[in-house]
């Protein structure tokens, strides 16, 4: 499967909204309804305008996205939180890996970032991917997400230092 990775453009916004509406994707984000989805997408696209976001494209159609939430403060500008989303039917095909590897490259080259970190909820199968790519756990926040059932999910925090020679 040929996948192209390019900078996210404003037209990708509608795909992001569509994906987040999928229950199986939404469950891994702290969002509940369209109002919250629109708010999160607005923030995502803000960073896309700063060229901190990438889109995976298959046969001309977006199938995944990843973005860095760049820090506005000088003291913290060397590190960044990121989020990733891959459309359901494209999971398990290496797209997440491709997006992450490309993100690590632009993080260093464009933004001189040498520490990337993420937040993922317990039970998310993406944890395996992150570990495979060298991310390690640095914390866990219990009862981070409260579901409508009254149950909770913990948030697992992972990070990776990006090497100076461009290797990740």
């Amino acid at each position: 499967m040929h996948i192209e990775i390019r900078d996210t453009v404003s037209e990708d916004r509608s795909y992001l909204v569509k994906w987040l509406e999928e229950p199986d994707i939404l469950r891994w984000f702290p969002l509940t309804d369209m109002r919250e989805i629109e708010d999160a997408v607005r923030i995502w696209m803000f960073y896309a305008e700063k060229q901190a976001s990438l889109t995976a494209v298959h046969e001309g159609k977006p199938c995944g996205m990843i973005t860095m939430y760049l820090h506005p403060y000088r003291k913290l500008a060397h590190q960044s939180l990121f989020a990733i989303i891959v459309e359901d039917q494209y999971r398990g095909k290496g797209i997440g890996t491709k997006l992450l590897k490309e993100l690590m490259k632009i993080a260093r080259e464009r933004f001189q970032i040498h520490l990337l970190h993420l937040e993922v909820y317990e039970g998310n199968p993406a944890i395996g991917l992150y570990q495979k790519l060298g991310f390690t756990v640095y914390g866990k926040q219990e009862r981070f997400v409260k579901l409508s059932s009254g149950n909770y999910l913990s948030k697992i925090m992972m990070q990776k230092e990006l090497k100076e020679d461009g290797r990740s």
């Binding site: 702290p30 969002l31 509940t32 309804d33 919250e36 708010d39 999160a40 820090h71 506005p72 403060y73 000088r74 003291k75 913290l76 500008a77 060397h78 590190q79 520490l115 970190h117 640095y138 914390g139 866990k140 926040q141 219990e142 009862r143 981070f144 997400v145 409260k146 579901l147 925090m157 990070q159 230092e161």
Partner: protein, 165 residues
């Protein structure tokens, strides 16, 4: 420790921003916070005061003059609205008088009673002497991230602590 005479706590008002600006004009006070430049500071204070509009801020006063300020950073999304992070500033001249303890206790109480929070968390950028103080108040560390803050050539950790009600 006995609180100063005529110490009181009220909801934070928009006008309290001038006190924040004054306290943070001291670069040593700014040091434990993520902002560095005046521009960064002004942006941060503007964002912080947005939470005061929800009555999520408390200002400590002595003889009606602000001496401390704390804010609950309420979460914007329903699934995570049961907890919040907070900030607190007590300028150097008012430290070691029990004001910080009173402010934290009142912020926790505000979070629990007004906003139905189940827990509160805080991000501390090291080095920062307030970690033992927070642990004494029931906070426990749940994450430590090395190299989070860059000060000159040196990198320092951030420590995340939480307190469940």
């Amino acid at each position: 420790m006995e609180l100063p005479d005529h110490f009181d706590i009220r909801y934070t008002e928009d006008s309290d921003i001038v006190w924040l600006q004054e306290w943070f004009s001291d670069l040593s006070v700014r040091e434990p916070f993520p902002f560095e430049t005046d521009l960064e500071m002004e942006e941060a204070l503007k964002n912080w005061m947005g939470f005061a509009k929800f009555q999520a801020g408390l200002t400590g006063t002595i003889n009606h003059i602000p001496c401390a300020l704390g804010l609950l950073f309420l979460m914007p999304y329903r699934k995570v609205a049961h907890h919040a992070s907070f900030m607190l500033i007590v300028p150097p001249m008012h430290r070691r008088k029990g004001i910080g303890t009173s402010m934290v206790k009142n912020l926790l109480h505000l979070g629990k009673t007004r906003f139905s929070l189940e827990s509160v968390h805080v991000e501390i950028l090291e080095p920062n002497p307030c970690i033992p103080f927070l642990k004494k108040l029931g906070f426990r560390e749940y994450a430590r991230q090395d190299h989070f803050v860059q000060r000159g050539e040196q990198a320092f950790p951030r420590v995340l602590l939480e307190c469940f009600f």
